[in-house]
């Protein structure tokens, strides 16, 4: 069976037939008020005006939004929760409690994932593999983050009067969840390139885009080589949360590798907030790629506005302790090839 390409790429579908590849039959996106005010505000399923999501702590709020998104995704796919074989979800909080506490009420077999802000990519790749391998008819891949709980975990108390640097990013509040199914209608996940951990020695935790850009360059270069197809193969290449600086750096890095990313490349972190929203370099967090894909790109794929896209969620894999100990930031990026509705199902 033809399941691998090159060194790091997984091929989905029977003998590489994209029509039989796992498909995303529904997506749910729930965000907080700031994301709702952004340029993609209309694309999200739910914009909560309450950043606490009706709960009394930020951690509970994040778990609540994670639960709601998973249930909504199943619902939108016309499925009951019992039909979901596995839930794969992750977040940024210590020991992944955002997801595990949220999934407590969902009652489905659960894999908790951590890939920092690349988690949504990790969840999609592994979810597609489970479906393609025949272990599940339907799985849900989900990732959440919350501005307040992330600030508390990684930075300073919210009420502290500090200034953010121009390179800092703003953690997206919300959860994006995708139902990956063996049958039904929806864009196919036809291939994915698993990323390596890359560390180019960047230590500034307020410049995560710069830390992550080389990891994306590594994954993209590998993907293009493994698939024997360049950036032109895609209508859109969207990274997770490189932000404005990381985006420029990636274009430069890829140019050195001989690839031109100036035409069809964007970054979810750049898309999600407008320049007037004071998000500095852009959005970040697990939810950044998750809600931007689930709310924005998924709709474009299903409506035919995009034919093929490469979603590349990106993660900076440090924690507060390693940062204080002066370590540099190891980073990762997983590339997921998603192809729209133009493929006819001949299964």
């Amino acid at each position: 069976m033809y399941k691998n390409a090159g060194k790091q790429t997984l091929i989905f579908g029977n003998d590489g037939d994209p029509a039989s590849a796992p498909r995303i039959t529904a997506c749910a996106s729930i965000v907080g008020p700031k994301e709702g005010e952004g340029p993609l505000g209309r694309d999200f399923d739910v914009v909560s005006q309450d950043i606490m999501f009706g709960k009394d702590t930020w951690e509970k709020a994040e778990s609540e939004v994670a639960r709601q998104a998973v249930e909504m995704a199943a619902n939108k796919a016309g499925l009951r929760l019992e039909d979901i074989r596995f839930v794969l979800a992750g977040d940024l909080l210590n020991q992944c409690i955002g997801s595990s506490f949220g999934m407590r009420a969902v009652g489905r077999p659960f894999f908790g994932l951590f890939g920092a802000c690349s988690t949504f990519g990790e969840a999609l790749v592994l979810g597609a593999a489970l479906v393609d391998g025949g272990w599940a008819d339907h799985v849900i891949s989900s990732a959440s983050s919350h501005f307040c709980s992330a600030e508390k975990t990684f930075r300073f108390p919210l009420e502290l009067g500090t200034q953010r640097t121009p390179t800092a990013s703003w953690t997206v509040t919300g959860d994006g969840a995708a139902v990956v199914s063996a049958f039904g209608d929806g864009p196919r996940i036809t291939a994915a390139t698993a990323g390596k951990i890359v560390d180019m020695g960047i230590k500034d935790v307020s410049n995560m885009g710069a830390a992550m850009a080389p990891a994306v360059a590594d994954t993209l270069t590998r993907h293009f080589a493994d698939m024997n197809a360049g950036p032109d193969h895609y209508d859109v290449i969207a990274t997770g949360d490189l932000g404005r600086i990381g985006k420029e750096l990636l274009i430069e890095l890829m140019f050195k590798e001989g690839y031109d990313l100036t035409k069809n490349f964007t970054d979810c972190g750049v898309e999600i907030y407008g320049p007037e929203q004071d998000a500095h370099a852009g959005g970040s967090g697990c939810a950044c790629a998750a809600v931007t894909f689930s709310g924005h790109f998924y709709k474009k794929l299903t409506s035919g506005k995009i034919g093929k896209m490469l979603l590349v969620p990106t993660g900076a894999l440090m924690n507060q302790t390693t940062a204080m100990q002066g370590e540099s930031i190891p980073s990762i990026a997983h590339a997921v090839r998603i192809e729209g509705m133009q493929i006819t199902d001949n299964r």
Partner: protein
Amino acid sequence: MQQTEQAKKQYQKMVERASPGSRTFANSLKAFVVGGLICDVGQLIRNLLLKGGVSEDHTAIYTAVILVFLGVLLTGLGVYDKIGKFAGAGSVVPITGFANSVAAPAIEYKKEGYVLGVGAKMFLVAGPVIVYGTLAATVVGLIYYLVK
């Protein structure tokens, strides 16, 4: 290995070039104005206290207490972080900033309880200031003692 080290150095240079720096002059100006205004408020309080018949010795303490109270109040009302975002060091350095640095974690960690939350985390930000402030004061005091 040497090659990767070189590649890392090159990349770091590339990042420095691509990353916009903070606007030092504009930020300094804002800090100067807001920091000065906070000091003016302090002076105003002091003058009022002296006018009200409080002794010279006590006014210093009362002024500090009132400024700390204002810092905590504005933190609780969610205003001080906005001032801080605008003013930077201008609102961090005065005693109101110290009050903010104690009150902010106290609010943040209230959910973790009064002992291990508020009690343990209250000096998360201010702790180093107290440690090194005390150390510096001791060193200066010793020098003063020896020189005198």
